[in-house]
């Protein structure tokens, strides 16, 4: 851990005059620096939790504004709501596919570019471009790509198939998941790649050389030397991506809006529809509160294990 500035010694002698000039004691100063930020953070950190909890016990929707105490009725409804659990299921399904694929492809790319290669810096700079694109734009881009008639994806498949192929990517139940996953993986694999490349570059070269002298092959070096050395980086990368995928919204919204029907509805999309299309205020509040609670627990556990603090 870092050192702290001395509070009393050895600067006690200087203190009185300094204090007079600054008009602030050290104690006052540290809180003066902190409180403006904390106040603003409460808008996203504390207020939503209290407010959703409050509203979730009431019965507010499009037709009535009943603020009387309703007990746990909204929660009871939530746990009986099939569509809610389906949306959780879709979210987890996207996560279950996207996370390992992004990790694997990212790792592969990182290994390709780990050793010296002329042009490497330019390749890395170009490969990470998808990461900084607005996810809604990424979704829009893939909608252009996937268009059944004017998009290049079907055109390319047609070349290989030798006959015209017209897959309705964002409508056909058989392909809609693939379409969303491709867009998602396209945008975020470079993120994994970048983090893993940084982690791998920092691995001590002598470890690899020692393994080579012992006659270890490339695959053994990767699985026995490189991967174990970058465990903390792997954990952080997976944690960040898992949290992002849990809130998956933009790409799906741009491609399918949760359709066809409710087939690709994620948790965030379902909450949005309940809150802002159906105006089920109290019910959405209950959902938001359950999500915040669940995620806070998860994040707390994860942070304790991952130890992001340096």
């Amino acid at each position: 851990m870092n050192r702290s500035l001395p509070d009393v010694e050895p600067l006690a002698a200087m203190r009185a005059s300094r204090k007079a000039r600054a008009g602030l004691g050290d104690r006052g100063f540290r809180y003066f620096m902190l409180w403006p930020a904390v106040l603003v953070i409460l808008l996203v950190g504390l207020f939503p939790i209290i407010y959703t909890l409050l509203v979730s016990f009431q019965n507010i929707n499009m037709f009535e504004e009943d603020t009387s105490f309703q007990g746990l009725s909204n929660y009871a409804r939530l746990f009986a709501d099939r569509r809610f659990f389906e949306s959780v299921g879709h979210t987890l399904l996207f996560m279950a596919v996207a996370l390992p694929v992004e990790l694997l492809l990212g790792l592969l790319l990182a290994l390709l570019l780990l050793e010296r290669l002329p042009g490497k810096q330019i390749f890395v700079a170009l490969l990470v471009l998808p990461v900084v694109i607005s996810p809604i734009v990424a979704g829009a881009t893939w909608r252009l790509m996937f268009d059944n008639r004017f998009g290049p994806v079907n055109q390319i498949i047609s070349w290989f198939a030798g006959e015209p192929v017209t897959i309705l990517w964002v409508v056909d139940p058989d392909f809609v998941y693939a379409a969303i996953l491709i867009a998602e993986i396209w945008q975020w694999t470079p993120f994994m790649f970048l983090l893993l490349l940084a982690g791998l570059t920092a691995v001590d070269r002598s470890l690899v050389e020692a393994a080579q002298i012992d006659g270890a092959g490339w695959f053994t070096i990767v699985t026995r030397v490189l991967l174990p050395s970058i465990k903390p980086v792997l954990a952080v990368a997976l944690l960040i991506r898992a949290l992002d995928l849990f809130r998956l919204f933009d790409v799906v919204w741009a491609l399918t809006k949760g359709g066809p029907g409710t087939m690709t509805e994620t948790l965030s999309i379902y909450a949005y529809i309940q809150g802002f299309r159906q105006f089920e205020t109290s019910y959405t509040a209950a959902m938001a509160f359950v999500v915040i609670l669940f995620l806070s627990l998860l994040v707390m556990l994860a942070l304790r294990r991952v130890e992001i603090t340096r």
């Binding site: 500035l5 005059s17 809180y31 700079a125 170009l126 471009l129 998808p130 952080v236 809130r247 919204w253």
Partner: protein, 273 residues
């Protein structure tokens, strides 16, 4: 061909395939924005248009849709400045005085991990009461709040790396605590500050869900505008492509200038590079 050479060729082939996959969609987006309507709706699609033209952009500026990029710029810049100022101050307090202890620092960063939809819903209800829906202030305050945990977390890392002797020396010379912070610490960490600011800016710039919920017509940002071109039956392809390009190219330029901070920025400082 020697073994080393063969490996080199294979690696280049792999990199080429990756570049093709990751860059082609971006090329496609940009090239559509310059195509004429006839070429956009040509079948089979044309990969290299005969004639490039700016008509699609001209329409955006003529109809006033391009203003949404200006809205994004205002909202993202102001919230970035606010978050950087408040965040750096708080980070200094946490890094140097360990205010609140480690648990408090953890709480700060955990605020960044709540799904936006769970935040934006109660905030929307609050804003309705305050009359802040569809205002610049409403969006700016929310982006500032949502970005602050990230700024504090990053700046805390950069400030911890500043040799403490610098600050001790300044204190002995009679500088006030505030002077130490603003004249000694901030100039030393300005590189990290700049990088953090760019990521904060890019987040607000790219955000969709907050802007979707909290804006109507007055402060529509460019990602929301892009989705307005999705029709039920037909999409306004030229506008989607031109608007997206307009909002994406500035980010590419900003990030290209920041290569060396990229890893630390997107990994929330977990990987130092």
């Amino acid at each position: 061909m020697s073994r080393a050479r063969r490996i080199m060729v294979l690696r280049y082939l792999g990199v080429a395939a990756a570049l093709l996959f990751f860059l082609f969609p971006i090329y496609w987006l940009i090239i559509i924005s310059f195509k004429t309507p006839e070429e956009i709706f040509a079948f089979p699609p044309t990969w290299w248009p005969e004639r490039l033209q700016f008509g699609n952009y001209r329409v955006l500026f003529k109809d006033g849709d391009a203003w949404t990029v200006w809205n994004s710029l205002v909202v993202a810049s102001v919230s970035t400045v606010a978050a950087m100022l408040l965040g750096s101050m708080a980070a200094y307090s946490i890094a140097r005085f360990r205010t609140g202890g480690d648990k408090f620092a953890m709480w700060i960063i955990s605020n960044r991990m709540i799904p936006p939809i769970a935040i934006v819903f109660p905030v929307f209800l609050l804003y309705v009461t305050l009359g802040w829906v569809d205002t610049f202030s409403g969006l700016i305050v929310l982006y500032t709040a949502f970005n602050l945990p990230y700024v504090i977390w990053m700046m805390r890392g950069y400030i911890q790396d500043v040799p403490i002797e610098l600050e001790e020396a300044a204190l002995i010379d009679g500088a006030s605590r505030w002077q130490v912070f603003s004249r000694i610490v901030l100039p030393v960490v300005r590189g990290g500050m700049f990088a953090t600011a760019v990521f904060t800016f890019v987040f607000a710039w790219n955000d969709f869900i907050f802007a979707l919920v909290l804006t109507r017509n007055a402060v529509t940002t460019f990602p929301v505008q892009v989705t307005h071109y999705f029709g039920g039956q037909s999409n306004f392809w030229a506008k989607i492509a031109a608007m997206s390009t307009l909002g994406t190219v500035p980010v590419f330029v900003a990030v290209a200038a920041l290569q060396r901070f990229l890893v630390r920025g997107i990994s929330m400082g977990a990987v130092k590079a």
